[in-house]
């Protein structure tokens, strides 16, 4: 058999078979390419500790609740991943979500505007604000730290102005909106079907990619490895769904969040836009010289971030059944940013995945949920979340240094 195109260099050892794959993974971790490993380990520790302190933590219904809570801030964190990817920051996502929440109350409840129009308006306003941040950055060179900090104050003012003297607007109980935020659960046949899909997609796409690589004289992964991976994923997902089904089941709102994460993951890894995002985050000048529309990338990232923040606000209005002055204030802002960072998206730009929003927010909500179960005050919750964030950033920093010394950027 002729030599594969990508296996011509004798100096490089290539992972073959299962042991090779495991060894390659270990080497990657040792060199500082940690991926999702720290957050998965951290999550395991947090869950073990809380379960030991209060077994209710791991009960199916508590986890279902946890997933409901994750979805609102998680959607906001997903937007944060986009701006962090470029090495930028949006500090106004909390206020933006507050404005999104207030718009639902004002437009839908008070003005009687149809719900889809109200949601659309909130998301569109978010996207518009994001476009303003990006334009300030592109045209006036205003650092996003400052523009979004002033946005934080301005949007908070807008939220208070819209809600007026009463300060909060209750969403009607029994409406689809509030049910979506508090009650609606995927039918069990649907949740099991959805749990099967990732494994099947993995298998089908993996097999066709391998076939194409072989046809193109490139090395291809082993079909056994692919099969094992797909089966393990399917088993894990089915187990999660089965466990949650012991309680209420999988919330629709969480399904929406996961769908957004998957869509974002596809966009970031498999499209030209995602490639350009990473390039701009890694080296904006190189991206510009390669003909990438760098300004357009900034605009798209900030629009997505603020738009998703507004959507997160809409979801939180549904979750709390009200648009209040408290929505989006307090720790929402920092939780969203911390979630993205804890999940493994680098603050330094150029590295990150959509899944970091999912993993990070589960960590943060687990801490909040676990401490609430232990009847501990929010003072302790803030301190512990702060410590976890600090650890996450330290891990990111150390991994970055290690990658640099191992020549992996």
């Amino acid at each position: 058999m002729s030599q594969n195109l990508d296996r011509a260099d004798a100096r490089v050892t290539h992972a073959t078979g299962l042991s090779g794959t495991i060894k390659a993974f270990m080497d990657r971790v040792k060199s500082g390419d940690l991926g999702s490993l720290p957050v998965v380990v951290g999550l395991a520790i947090i869950w073990t500790v809380f379960t030991a302190l209060n077994p209710i933590f791991l009960s199916p219904n508590n986890l279902v609740n946890l997933l409901f809570d994750c979805s609102t801030t998680g959607v906001i964190a997903l937007g944060i991943v986009c701006v962090l990817m470029l090495g930028e920051i949006d500090l106004s996502v909390g206020s933006m979500s507050g404005v999104g929440s207030a718009l639902i109350g004002v437009l839908w409840v008070n003005q009687g505007v149809p719900l889809p129009v109200a949601i659309g308006t909130a998301v569109a306003l978010g996207a518009l604000i994001g476009a303003v941040y990006a334009t300030l950055r592109n045209r006036l060179g205003m650092p996003s730290f400052v523009s979004t900090l002033s946005g934080l104050l301005a949007l908070l003012g807008l939220q208070l102005y819209m809600l007026g003297a009463t300060g909060s607007i209750n969403l009607p109980y029994g409406s689809k909106m509030v049910e979506f935020g508090q009650l609606l659960i995927l039918p069990s046949w649907l949740s099991y079907t959805l749990a099967l899909i990732p494994g099947i997609v993995m298998l089908v796409v993996g097999r066709s990619t391998n076939a194409r690589r072989r046809a193109a004289n490139l090395s291809a992964g082993s079909s056994t490895g692919l099969f094992i991976k797909a089966v393990l994923t399917t088993i894990a997902l089915l187990a999660i769904v089965a466990y949650l089904s012991l309680g209420r089941g999988v919330p629709w709102m969480f399904a929406l969040f996961v769908a957004l994460v998957l869509a974002m993951n596809y966009a970031l890894t498999r499209t030209q836009w995602g490639r350009s995002m990473k390039a701009v985050g890694g080296n904006a000048e190189a991206a510009r010289r390669a003909g990438i529309n760098v300004r357009g990338i900034y605009i798209s990232a900030f629009m997505l971030c603020s738009g998703l923040a507004a959507l997160g606000g809409v979801l939180s209005a549904a979750r709390l059944a009200s648009s209040s002055q408290q929505a989006g204030t307090g720790d929402v802002n920092l939780n969203a940013i911390a979630a993205a960072v804890i999940g493994g998206t680098s603050l330094f730009g150029g590295r990150g995945t959509a899944f970091s929003a999912l993993l990070g927010i589960i960590v943060i909500q687990s801490i909040a949920n676990g401490l609430t179960l232990l009847n501990l005050s929010s003072s302790l919750r803030y301190m512990i979340t702060g410590a976890v964030l600090a650890i996450a950033v330290i891990v990111d920093s150390l991994a970055r240094q290690s990658r640099a010394s191992h020549g992996r950027a």
């Binding site: 193109a216 390669a290 003909g291």
Partner: protein, 269 residues
Amino acid sequence: MSDRSQTRKAPGELLLSLRGISKNFGAVSALTDIDLDIHAGEVVALVGDNGAGKSTLVKVLAGVHQASSGSIEFQGKPVTMASPAAALHLGIATVFQDLALCENLDVVANIFLGQELNPLRLDEVAMEVRAWTLLNELAARIPSVREPIASLSGGQRQTVAIARSLLLNPKIIMLDEPTAALGVAQTAEVLNLVERVRDKGLGVIMISHNMEDVRAVADRIVVLRLGRNNGVFTPDASNQELVGAITGATDNAVSRRAERLREAAGEPL
């Protein structure tokens, strides 16, 4: 290297022709009345002191700057290059001095940056095959195209940058100080690359401060001094002549007159 004399005897088609190019930055004239011709299959070295205008000229040709006056003809047609994309589209590719690679992306992603196949569903297999083909054409030794650029050596990065410039099948490639940061072996490799590119029938413009490198690969050596043409030499010109033209040490009325007299008398240079 072996067929260089042959190439010099029969230069290919005239690709690029600059006439009277000037570029002013405010009160400073970075380039004044520059004339330059590039043929297919030849390496033209652009040499000159710091501030001689080499990089400005390259940037004008790359579409980064626009000339204040003068005309550029590409394959016989007058052209203007309003942006880097326009220059790329014409078939002029540039390898910048800092290479402009994204260290966090792998080799394939860097080669196809901004030119990805199938934007809505990246065709990684086709891109990887094309990347290997390009690298093999340059006889490059890259261990893996799926490693981030950060893990490559200086010479390997240079190779990736050159391979990227060849992606769109350009007619001319410009290399700004391709050997400045490289060791002895890597420099030799890059010079080999330059020759391979030349042998593919491309015009190559190479900026360098290193006379040895210039002499090793150039078919013509164009000297710039203070933003003006200051002579065209062949690689067998003496070091003294070259250095003189670059620094202007011999550039005075007396030496020019002496040269003219010698030429008139039919004496060798």
